[in-house]
Amino acid sequence: MEQIVVPKKHNLRRNLTILLVAALIIGSARFAGFSIVGTLSGILRGGRLLGRMFLSPAWSYAPRVVDPLVETIRMSVVGTFIGALVAFPVAVLAAENFIRKPLISRPLRFILNIFRTIPAMVLASLFVAVFGTGAFSGVLALAIFTFGLISKLTFESIEAIDYGQVEALMSLGANQINVLRYAIVPQILPQFLSYTLYGFEVNVRAAAVLGYVGAGGIGQVFEQNLSFRRFDRVGVIIILTFFVVLAIDFVSSAIRRRLV
């Protein structure tokens, strides 16, 4: 069969891109003080540390990890719950297909976008500075973080509903609250619950490290043991946290799959 000859695609743009990306990587590595030797010795040191954490973890310490772990989960539950509760009405107001008041929805969406860009860790440090260390600051950080996440996902769901059902309710004399109750909530409830569970999963992971800035939970214990260089205990904490997070993720995503 005859060979088909296609003119070569000229690669100037691609080559320039590669060059630029390479320059950026090398440039930032130098800026960050990256060195191969330093990295290698770091890896060695890290390996020794990992050995101390996981080769002989202090299992006797495990019972004392339970309480802070439970506290972490509790923080996540409360934070998720409050965040989701506030997120729902705000999402309804932010959706542009229902209330249809751009003077409300536009600024609201803008604020929600800002909320979502602040990491939970930053919020937590802020609240620790304001309200002091402890679970309260952590819960507040998680609630606001969850609020940002869920409200955005939910108003997008509301905007994607079948509007025919809304019109049908309006046509029979329903007011807006009735429309919400009978045409919108039934359509988005499964998604909303799913987002809430997802928020919970994210929160459990976030809550596990929040303690690092003093916002309660397992992270706080982790940080203390690390500062005392009790790597055997740190190992126990990491292992238990890992399995708890894994179990919660597993259960929660199983439920979510059945929801939608």
Binding site: D162, G164, Q165, E167, A168, L169, M170, S171, L172, G173, A174, N175, I177, N178, R181, Y182, A183, P186, Q187, L189, P190
Partner: protein
């Protein structure tokens, strides 16, 4: 029962959907509206319960100026006007009963309906409505489990639960097969005849108009170009008239056949 006086509708994007509509529908009539796609049939229907606003002119339903009603007044006017749609528009994630009961929301304070606390007489109204369209046995089924024809019957039951004076139907059978089409149209006629509910239906199939309506109105490019009572009209004459409304011979798919 329904009166359009010099009604025009221009959509915000500048599309002129209706021009100088004058139309009176008497109580108990079964009015079929026919016309090409885009002629303005849905627009006309949706002005009757003010799902859209008139640009000029007046729309009066059962003595009320619907085009000026707002808020509570509008909701009370709408309560008397049932509407069914091509896409059924029942709430798929609710039970059949909840769907039909939602037809009663305008009769009760919001707090009650939000909690789903409908009084027993309302439930009886809902059951009876379901019985009218022979689907009472599905009362506890989830609406999404029903076939298209069954969903449209639930939609009719929801409209019946409103205890309406007027029934609007926007291409109610366009998504249904010929057999369920006849069923659904039979129910609409039965309700029209037995309850005296004034009915206005947009129909795609011209022979359905001939079979079910008492009067046919043809719309072309936003104007009423045809308005004839069915009584005494013979079939060949009717089809010749339809070609005027459509500006071309009737297409194969615009006749259901053996209806």
């Amino acid at each position: 029962m329904i009166r359009f006086t010099d009604v025009s509708k221009v959509y915000p994007n500048g599309v002129r959907a209706l021009t100088d509509i004058n139309l009176t529908v008497e109580e108990g009539e079964f009015l079929a509206i026919i016309g090409l796609s885009g002629a303005g049939k849905s627009t006309l229907l949706r002005l009757i319960n003010r799902l859209i606003d008139t640009t000029s002119g007046a729309v009066e339903v059962d003595g009320m100026m619907v085009n000026r009603a707002t808020g509570r007044q509008l909701r009370e006017a709408r309560r008397k006007i049932g509407m069914i749609f091509q896409g059924f528009n029942i709430v798929k994630r609710m039970s059949v009963l909840s769907n039909v009961l939602s037809g009663r929301v305008a009769y009760h304070p919001t707090w009650r309906t939000v909690l789903g606390l409908f009084p027993e007489p309302d439930k009886q109204i809902a059951y009876r409505a379901l019985q009218r369209v022979d689907i009472l046995e599905k009362v506890h089924a989830r609406a999404s489990e029903l076939s298209g024809g069954q969903q449209q019957r639930v939609a009719i039951a929801r409209a019946l639960a409103q205890e309406p004076r007027v029934m609007l139907a926007d291409e109610p059978v366009a998504s249904l097969d010929p057999i369920t089409t006849v069923q659904v149209m039979d129910y609409l006629r039965q309700i029209n005849v037995e309850d005296g509910i004034t009915t206005v239906a947009n129909l795609h199939h011209v022979d359905l108009a001939l079979k079910y309506a008492t009067r046919v109105v043809g719309i072309r490019a936003g104007r009423i170009v045809y308005d004839v009572p069915i009584k005494g009209l013979d079939r060949p004459q009717f089809f010749r008239d339809m070609e005027q409304v459509y500006g071309r011979p009737i297409h194969h798919d615009e006749v259901l056949g053996e209806a």
